[in-house]
Each structure stands twice: as structure tokens, then as C-alpha cells.
């Protein structure tokens, strides 16, 4: 409503500004997206920035971090920093591609189940819940054991196949609630086709949930890929943060105290994960006003709903003596 009113006054610039700023209003989202964005940049340009060939061996075995090797070297004299920079690409690529496929599956299953209801919903929800209960790692291990040496695409597909149920579950719940709202009935009465209602009425109203689901699936996929590569499953001949940990473990880096070898890859995964989780916490606060906490409200913090529902502005000023 307020958009319309202000449009009439011709003051459109001012309405656009706070709207665009909404995503940037939460410092959590800003910090989270910056950290994640930095790693996306590393994934794109990493191989160009790497000072050495990550596979090239040298006589400088298990060297401490120094000017020549900023993050030291492995037991075969390979440069750890170069491995991190080159490995970022596979780790991030698997994460993002698996999340795109997984979230698409989640949207298809979740919205279909929620919108159609009835038997279709029963069937799809049951399948979703079954995949939710089955422990992911053993299933992935059994699947990938049959796909030896098949590269990152096979691993990505396997991960996305196990990543979608969470998203499908939340999207189904949200669609169930949206389906009963007036504007959907209005669209039905206006004679809109089902696909049009789903695409233009239901889907845009779930964009925030879709984005958080997508980010969560990237985090999930990177964690799973790192775990699988650490076990030596999938392709450890190409560099990723997980395969670095695999080689560190197999060369007993943990017993020889070569912390510069095994700390950086895990820290990279943790930082990417933190970026994604922070972004999601910020988005949660944007879409769910109940979660917003006002910093300087310490004294009244238990009274937030009360304080916020008090009239704002000075329309009562004349009434008070």
C-alpha cells in the first residue's frame, strides 16, 4: 500500500532505496556474503594466482611457512598455498552445482506436493521423509563405491541426490500455507492456469526460503564432498580441500606436527560454511520479524512486541497534555 501512495507523490527514488537496502540491512548477511564471495573469486581465479604448480614436487620437504612458501610445503615438497588456491575450484564447483540440482529437485517436489495436496502430497512427502531419515554418508559411500574414478560430476550428482529432502520439506510446508491465501483464490477465479499460479503467485513468495535452502545445500555439499575426498572416495587425483586432507592424513602429517598442511584446507571449508550460515541467519531475520532483536533495547528486551506495537510518530502529540 505504502508503495502506491508514495508513487502518487512521485517520490519513487526514496521508496526504492530502503527496498534495495533490505538485503543489506543485516550485518550478518553482508559479512556472510562477503566471505562467500571472496571464496567464489578464489575459485575462479585461484589457478591463475597459484605461485607454483600444486603437483610439482621439490626437495623442500615439510618446510615451515616462509617467504618462498607462504603456507609451507607437503611431505613431497609441494606448495600448500598453491594446492589451496587450485583446490578451491573443485570444492566450490561441486558445492554450487550440487546445490543447483538439489534445490531444483527440492522446488519441484516440495511445491508440487504442497500445491496439489491429497494423494500426490502423501506420496511425495513420504518419499521426502524417507530420504531425510536415511543417513547420507553411508548411502553416498555405497553409491560411489560402484562409480570408481568417475570424476567430480558423478560425486556431484550423488551429493545432490541426497541433499534435496530438507529443502523440499520446508517448501512443501510453505506452499501449504500460501495455497490457502486469498490472492491464490483470486488468481483461480480469474481463470489462471495452474502452472501460471505456481510460477507467478506461489514461487516468488517463496524466494527467501529458496535462497536459504540453496545456500544451506552448498554448505552441505561442500562438507560431504570434503568428507568423501578425505576418505579417498571419488577422484583424489584432482586437487580439492578434501583431497588435500586425504594426502595429509595418509602421510601422517598429524603425527609429524605439520599443521600448515592440514589446518588451511579445513579452515577454508569452515570459513565458506560460516559465510553461508551467517547469510542464512541474516535472511531468517529479514523474513521472520519475530527473530529481530534490537541492540539498544536491553532494558526492555523482554517487551519487544509491546514496545514495537506502540504508535510511532507524533500523531498523538496534540492529545497529550
Amino acid at each position: 500500500m505504502s508503495d502506491l501512495l508514495i508513487d502518487f507523490t512521485g517520490d519513487a527514488v526514496e521508496t526504492d532505496a530502503p527496498r534495495r537496502a533490505m538485503w543489506l540491512r543485516s550485518p550478518k548477511t553482508v559479512v556472510g556474503l562477503s566471505v562467500f564471495g571472496a571464496f567464489v573469486v578464489i575459485a575462479i581465479f585461484g589457478p591463475l594466482l597459484a605461485p607454483y604448480d600444486p603437483t610439482a614436487t621439490s626437495g623442500d620437504v615439510l618446510a615451515h611457512p616462509s617467504a618462498a612458501h607462504l603456507l609451507g610445503t607437503t611431505s613431497e615438497g609441494q606448495d600448500v598455498l598453491s594446492q589451496i588456491l587450485v583446490g578451491a575450484r573443485e570444492s566450490m564447483l561441486v558445492g554450487i552445482v550440487a546445490a543447483v540440482i538439489g534445490e531444483s529437485l527440492a522446488i519441484a517436489v516440495g511445491i508440487t506436493a504442497g500445491y496439489l495436496g491429497g494423494m500426490a502430497d502423501e506420496a511425495l512427502s513420504t518419499v521426502t521423509n524417507i530420504f531425510l531419515v536415511i543417513p547420507v554418508l553411508p548411502l553416498e559411500i555405497v553409491l560411489s563405491a560402484y562409480l570408481v574414478n568417475s570424476g567430480w560430476i558423478a560425486i556431484t550428482l550423488i551429493i545432490s541426490l541426497t541433499a534435496w529432502p530438507w529443502g523440499a520439506r520446508t517448501l512443501r510446508a510453505q506452499t501449504l500455507s500460501i495455497r490457502k491465501r486469498d490472492y491464490i483464490d483470486a488468481a483461480k477465479v480469474a481463470g489462471d492456469r495452474t502452472w501460471r499460479i505456481v510460477l507467478f503467485e506461489v514461487l516468488p513468495n517463496e524466494s527467501a526460503i529458496i535462497v536459504t535452502g540453496f545456500l544451506f545445500q552448498i554448505l552441505f555439499a561442500i562438507l560431504v564432498q570434503t568428507g568423501l575426498a578425505f576418505l579417498g572416495i571419488g577422484n583424489v587425483e584432482t586437487w580439492s580441500w578434501g583431497s588435500m586432507l586425504y594426502f595429509a592424513q595418509n602421510s601422517d602429517a598429524f603425527l609429524s606436527g605439520a599443521w600448515w598442511w592440514y589446518v588451511p584446507p579445513g579452515l577454508c571449508v569452515a570459513l565458506v560454511g560460516m559465510g553461508l550460515a551467517l547469510t542464512n541467519l541474516g535472511i531468517d531475520e529479514i523474513i521472520n520479524p519475530k527473530l529481530r532483536v534490537y541492540k539498544n533495547d536491553k532494558k526492555h528486551r523482554r517487551w519487544i512486541p509491546f514496545v514495537r506495537s506502540q504508535p510511532v510518530g507524533d500523531q498523538f502529540e496534540g492529545a497529550t497534555p
Partner: protein, 328 residues
């Protein structure tokens, strides 16, 4: 009761799905695992080993799909999973029987401790929102993104190797024999401290964040306001009014995340060479022991299902709506 009946049907369906997936995977995957194994061993397989593969997959029987499927069910019901390659000629079921108790005790206890601690921390963090307790958000986000096994690797190198406080691998010392003696139990406890702490640290963040946000939402409800207005002491409002309602989704979340948490815990076993089922699973992967691998997938799934059933029972006890048929 309707709630429990519905959940019961769901669990039967899930168990059926897991067993059927297990039956289908070797058939849908490219290549024949029996032939792959034979090629791998260059015809060195004994008759017994070939037989073990046949039992595990029912592939060599050539009896048609349905007949093989029934045969497979018969094997599962009798816990006949064939012979393990890694520990040849020990039956797969024996290998599992030896390793499963380790995992159930270690992972079960750690996950429950992490849930209880995480929920309490989440309650306090939610109650004290807007204060420095809000730092749990970035801290939780960081811990959520850490691979659990990596925490284990760091812990081993600090407390095991550098400080030498705890043993770095195994489930018990080599100088004791597994038995119900104090020496053995003490040694097992000593060996399980670090793996348990790792699993707790790795899985607590999700619980804290979830519970904290549920608490913050619940605290905006009117009944909390009423509690405050009545002048009740803070802890009573915090636990009896807010937390009691906020905890319900946390119980559901616990059950749903279990499959993921258990996956992380299995990797921790690998880091510590802990003699549980995760360690055995990864040994099986290394030696392409398909019968053992598949049986372990099945057993872990059934164990997680059982834990879900327990969580449902707890849910029925704490949420009266399930008993009155409001939630089905």
C-alpha cells in the same frame, strides 16, 4: 494414537525402502560387481568367495528379478549378509556384531549430550537476546561449517600428539582384553574421551542455533507477556513458559538431523581408528568389500530409524496435541 500409528506405517515403509535400495544399487550401477571383483583378484577367488558375492547380491543366481528379491529378503531377515572380504572368512553379521556396540555407545551418548547441552545453551542465548550472548550466532555459524572430522584431526594433533594427554587411536589399550573388567572399561573410557568431545563439538552448533531462534520467536508470544505481567520469576517464565513450547521443533529437528550427524560421527571414527562400524565401513571401501559395505549401510539406516522412533515417543510424551489427535 493416530500419530503413532501413522509414524509406525512410515517407519515400516522406510525400512522397506532402505532394504530395497540396498537390493537395487548393485543392479542399477554400471558394471557387475561380481565380475569386477573377479577381475580385481585375477581369477584368484575361491569358490567360497564367489559364493559370498552371490549371497550378497543374488546376482549369480540368474533366477529372475522377483525370485532374487525374495531370496534377498530371506537373507536379510535371517541376518545372512554373506562373508566379508576384508575379514575373510568371517561372516558380515559377525563383523557388524563386534563393531556396532562401540558405535552405539560412543555416537549415541555424544549425540544425546550434544543435544541436551545445545538446547540449554540455546534457551539461555534466546532468553538473553540482544546481549553479548548474541555472539553465539557467528560462533555457531562457524562451528556449523567445520567438517566434524577436521575438529578430530586438530584435537588429535594437539591433545594426542603434542600434549600426549590421551591416546591417539584405537578403542582400548592393547594390554587389556575386551571384557567386563574395570581395567578394560577404564581404558575404553580413556580412549573415547576425545572422539566423544569431537562429535559433541561438531554437532552442538546446529542445536544451539535452532533452539535459540525458536526461543526468540516464542518470546514474542502473548502468553510469555502474560507470564511476565503476572510477575513470575524470570527462570520460571524462561523454562516453563517459553522453553517448554520452543523445545517441540527442537525434538523434531533432532530426529531429522540424526542421519546427518551420524554421518559426521562415522568419519570421526576413521580419524581415531575407533573400532566402531564407521571405521569398518571405510576399511570395507578400501578393500572393495561390497557385501560388508552394503550390510553396514542397511544396519546404520535401521539404527537411525530406531532412534527416530524413540524421538517420536518422546514427542508424544511432551506434546499433548499428539495424544488428542490434533497432530497426525
Amino acid at each position: 494414537m493416530r500419530f503413532l500409528a501413522r509414524r509406525g506405517i512410515f517407519y515400516v515403509l522406510t525400512a522397506w525402502a532402505a532394504i530395497t535400495i540396498n537390493f537395487l544399487i548393485p543392479r542399477l550401477m554400471p558394471g557387475n560387481p561380481v565380475e569386477a571383483q573377479m577381475a580385481h583378484h585375477q581369477g584368484q577367488l575361491t569358490f567360497q568367495e564367489t559364493k559370498a558375492l552371490d549371497v550378497a547380491f543374488g546376482i549369480g543366481l540368474h533366477q529372475g528379478f522377483w525370485s532374487e528379491y525374495l531370496q534377498y529378503w530371506n537373507n536379510v531377515v535371517h541376518l545372512n549378509f554373506g562373508l566379508s572380504f576384508t575379514y575373510f572368512p568371517t561372516p558380515v553379521s559377525t563383523v557388524i556384531a563386534h563393531s556396532l556396540p562401540w558405535t552405539i555407545i560412543l555416537v549415541g551418548l555424544s549425540v544425546i549430550i550434544a543435544w541436551v547441552l545445545g538446547t540449554i545453551l540455546g534457551i539461555v542465548a534466546g532468553w538473553r537476546r540482544g546481549s553479548s550472548w548474541d555472539l553465539t550466532l557467528p560462533a555457531g555459524a562457524f562451528f556449523r561449517g567445520i567438517p566434524t572430522f577436521w575438529i578430530g584431526l586438530i584435537a588429535v594433533s594437539i591433545f594426542g600428539v603434542r600434549l600426549g594427554w590421551v591416546p591417539v587411536s584405537g578403542g582400548y589399550s592393547t594390554n587389556v582384553v575386551p571384557s567386563w573388567t574395570w581395567a578394560f572399561i577404564g581404558s575404553a573410557l580413556h580412549h573415547s574421551i576425545l572422539p566423544a568431545l569431537t562429535i559433541i563439538l561438531g554437532s552442538i552448533a546446529g542445536n544451539v542455533l535452532g533452539m535459540r531462534n525458536m526461543m526468540v520467536s516464542t518470546l514474542t508470544e502473548d502468553f510469555v507477556l502474560v507470564g511476565e505481567a503476572k510477575g513470575l520469576p524470570g527462570h520460571r517464565v524462561m523454562f516453563r513458559y517459553a522453553a517448554r513450547n520452543a523445545i517441540l521443533p527442537s525434538v523434531v529437528g533432532f530426529a531429522l538431523e540424526l542421519g546427518f550427524v551420524v554421518s559426521g560421527a562415522l568419519l570421526v571414527e576413521q580419524v581415531y581408528s575407533y573400532p566402531g562400524i564407521g571405521y569398518v565401513l571405510f576399511q570395507a571401501v578400501g578393500s572393495e568389500d561390497y557385501p560388508l559395505m552394503q550390510a553396514i549401510f542397511l544396519i546404520i539406516t535401521l539404527a537411525v530409524l530406531l532412534a527416530n522412533i524413540l524421538a517420536d515417543v518422546v514427542f508424544v510424551i511432551i506434546d499433548p496435541r499428539t495424544r488428542q489427535g490434533a497432530i497426525t
